[in-house]
């Protein structure tokens, strides 16, 4: 889950005293105008969980309340990336001397935490890493909660920056990363103001989806994700469903096998209509899953590809057969079924559908593509 900038600043950075500019989270042009009345010259920033907000026109300077009202209305009506703008952050302008980059994030290959700092902030870190890797300082924290001020100072040694001040920010940022179950907390830019203060001008925060049960305040503040109606229905039923643009419907178990079924549909010249996996704990939800796949009007044929390890193919096949009787879809279906519960599943499919599953999934996919042409 991602928090919008304003919420991340308020809920993640402010509690440990990382400096922020004066500002307000606003929902309407009127509120934005009132904020400008209070703070004077301000930046109005679109609140949306997408990058490149500035380039998209979602960040504007305003000098008066009247101007703020108009600009706020424009920005609130925008879409940026895949999202409608979800609110505004109005912040007082400040004179900036320098811009830095600071982040704390998971380092999967090291199975640890990575702290990053660069004196050249403001730009995209991937771009900086590609063009000028020596400009990024890195520190790996292998023992959780063991990142000290001295570690931070050693990481920054030799840089022409306020080492004490930045070390303090990095340690606080790491504390919040641990306390909030973050996958990433990033301040870009971390600005040195002309008055000498270090201030977080932007903040990106990603919450670990698996930890929402113990981070209820942050989870409640998360940015809206805008799934399609069918995707939202799937999520509500504990099913991982993603709508795609094609016409071959897919029902498979396990993330790896489902992705592979999509890949093979595309590789053999077809076009997948969805990703829908009912593996793991969801293997008993065949009926709900099939209803979602077939609710997409573009679906012209269906591949059912099961390979049971943990998931029992007989249970999944029965779910499909039961759903078929209720939904009575006018769509040809092509099966490939192997693994746990295979004999019972094949017998059931032969009885209920009058077909024998294909031995290889590639042949089921080929047949499903053929009827869409």
């Amino acid at each position: 889950m991602i928090l919008n900038e304003g919420d991340a600043k308020k809920l993640v950075l402010a509690p440990v005293g990382i400096n922020l500019l004066h500002g307000a989270i606003c929902a309407t042009p009127g509120e934005a105008a009132a904020a400008v009345q209070q703070f004077g010259r301000c930046v109005i920033k679109a609140q949306v969980p997408a990058g490149k907000r500035g380039k998209a026109g979602g960040i504007k300077l305003v000098s008066s309340a009247a101007e703020a009202e108009k600009v706020a209305a424009d920005i609130l009506a925008m879409r940026i990336g895949d999202y409608a703008v979800q609110g505004l952050l109005v912040e007082q302008c400040a004179a900036i001397a320098e811009e830095y980059y600071a982040a704390v994030l998971h380092a999967p290959v090291e199975r640890a935490t990575l702290i990053l700092f660069s004196a050249e902030g403001g730009m995209d870190i991937e771009e900086l890493a590609a063009t000028k890797p020596e400009a990024i300082r890195r520190f790996i924290v292998r023992t959780p909660d063991a990142f000290s001020i001295d570690d931070a100072k050693s990481m920054l040694a030799g840089l022409d920056v306020d080492i004490a001040g930045i070390s303090d920010v990095l340690v606080k940022l790491y504390q919040r990363y641990r306390q909030t179950d973050a996958e990433l907390v990033e301040i870009n830019p971390l600005a040195l103001l002309e008055d000498g203060r270090l201030v977080a001008l932007d903040c990106k925060f990603i919450l670990d989806d698996a930890a929402t049960y113990r981070q209820t305040e942050l989870a409640a503040a998360a940015a809206s994700e805008e799934p399609t109606m069918l995707e939202a229905k799937g999520a509500a039923q504990g099913l991982k469903f993603i709508e795609l643009l094609g016409n071959v419907g897919i029902l498979a178990n396990g993330a790896g096998l489902t992705m592979t079924t999509m890949d093979v549909v595309k590789y053999l010249g077809g076009s997948p209509a969805n990703f829908m996996e009912i593996g793991g704990d969801a293997y008993t939800k065949g009926e709900a899953a099939l209803a979602l796949v077939l609710a997409n009007p573009n679906v012209k044929s269906l591949v059912v590809n099961f390979c049971g390890a943990f998931a029992r193919t007989d249970v999944m096949a029965k779910g499909v057969a039961d759903a078929w009787k209720v939904l009575k879809p006018d769509v040809p279906v092509f099966f490939s079924v192997h693994g746990t519960g295979e004999d019972e599943a094949v017998a059931l499919i032969e009885k209920e559908f009058g077909v024998t599953p294909f031995d290889f999934m590639e042949d089921a996919v080929k047949a499903a593509i053929a009827v869409t042409k």
């Binding site: 998971h106 999967p108 290959v109 199975r111 640890a112 935490t113 991937e126 292998r142 023992t143 959780p144 641990r178 179950d181 996958e183 670990d208 989806d209 698996a210 930890a211 049960y213 113990r214 991982k240 993603i242 795609l244 498979a252 178990n253 396990g254 993330a255 790896g256 096998l257 489902t258 992705m259 592979t260 999509m262 890949d263 093979v264 549909v265 595309k266 590789y267 053999l268 997948p272 990703f275 996996e277 593996g279 793991g280 390979c307 049971g308 390890a309 943990f310 998931a311 192997h338 693994g339 746990t340 295979e342 290889f360 999934m361 590639e362």
Partner: protein
């Protein structure tokens, strides 16, 4: 001496969470398959027995009277950290964590503790380990001889379902497996593709390796650097070629952003290292025959 993450019949396995529904079902299958299960753990049922095996209150209690080489965790996400730390502190050398959706900060603490004790971890979110003819630990159909046959090809897979299909295809083409190493679908896992590759490279029972990867992360790229140094032939399939960027494909680890973790990047890294990358699972056996012939020629 355990060769974890390759599972052996001589490995003495303790099942944490054995008394639950899934724990019971899969423990029976493991025993049927030849795995040496020596008992289970459930703090509320310490001192009782289940499936004819003793139930201990903790791993620490179990190791007082039993030698334990491997623990297998059927434990829900919120309790997984404590269960893993119990096994690590007790000095068990290998832990298989099946649980999906463990908070990643708990996983960081598990890995840090394991690194201090030298504990090897497989998972989280793995389907387990299979050595056909010897046994299995996890939630794999290791007992199904249509799928798993003893042989000399090692298989590494992030996914249980796809790994099962690949083993089935290999068995049908006459390639039995020396060992199946399910490493798990999470972004942060204890045994990476490279770690599993190293184990199979050193395994005298393995002649060739089939690697089943997924988009996302940097594990296949890391493995490719090691693969370049190997003499045993490797065939790979990478799932997620058709996945749209920015969408998580079921496994938390399977997501691409920009070029990072992309199909094209992984395929290139592997091919540059001399790995044969196939387009569909059906092609694996043919590619493996060719690769083995080329090596012996």
């Amino acid at each position: 001496m355990s060769e974890f993450p390759i599972i052996r019949r001589t490995d003495r396995v303790l099942v944490q969470g054995m008394t639950g529904g899934q724990g019971t079902f899969w423990t029976e299958k493991m025993i049927e398959c030849g795995t040496t299960v020596i008992g289970g753990v459930n703090p509320k049922r310490a001192g009782t027995s289940h499936l004819g095996l003793p139930i201990f209150g903790s791993v620490a209690d179990a190791v007082k009277s039993e030698q334990v080489d491997v623990t297998l965790m059927f434990i829900p996400p919120t309790l997984a950290k404590d269960a893993a730390l119990d096994a690590i502190t007790a000095g068990v050398p290998g832990i298989v964590i099946l649980t999906e959706h463990i908070p990643s900060h708990d996983v960081l603490e598990i890995f840090a503790a394991a690194a201090k004790r030298g504990t090897k971890i497989v998972g989280p979110n793995t389907a387990g380990l299979v050595t056909p003819g010897a046994g299995f630990v996890g939630i794999m159909p290791g007992h199904n001889s249509n799928i798993f046959k003893p042989g000399r090809t090692g298989v590494i897979s992030r996914s249980g379902s796809l790994g099962t299909l690949i083993c089935l295809n290999l068995t049908r083409a006459g390639f039995g497996q020396s060992s199946f190493v399910g490493i798990g679908g999470d972004p942060m896992i204890g045994t990476t593709t490279k770690d599993a590759l190293v184990a199979l490279d050193h395994d005298p029972n393995t002649d060739a390796v089939v690697m089943v990867g997924e988009i996302g992360g940097g594990m296949e790229e890391e493995a490719a650097r090691y693969a370049a140094t190997m003499k045993k032939p490797i065939v790979a399939f990478i799932a997620g070629r058709a996945a749209p960027p920015g969408k998580r494909m079921g496994h938390a680890g399977a997501i691409t952003a920009g070029d990072a973790g992309s199909y094209a990047g992984k395929r290139k890294a592997l091919e540059d290292a001399g790995v044969v990358v196939v387009d569909t699972p059906q092609d694996i056996a043919t590619a493996l025959s060719h690769a083995l012939k080329k090596k012996s020629a």
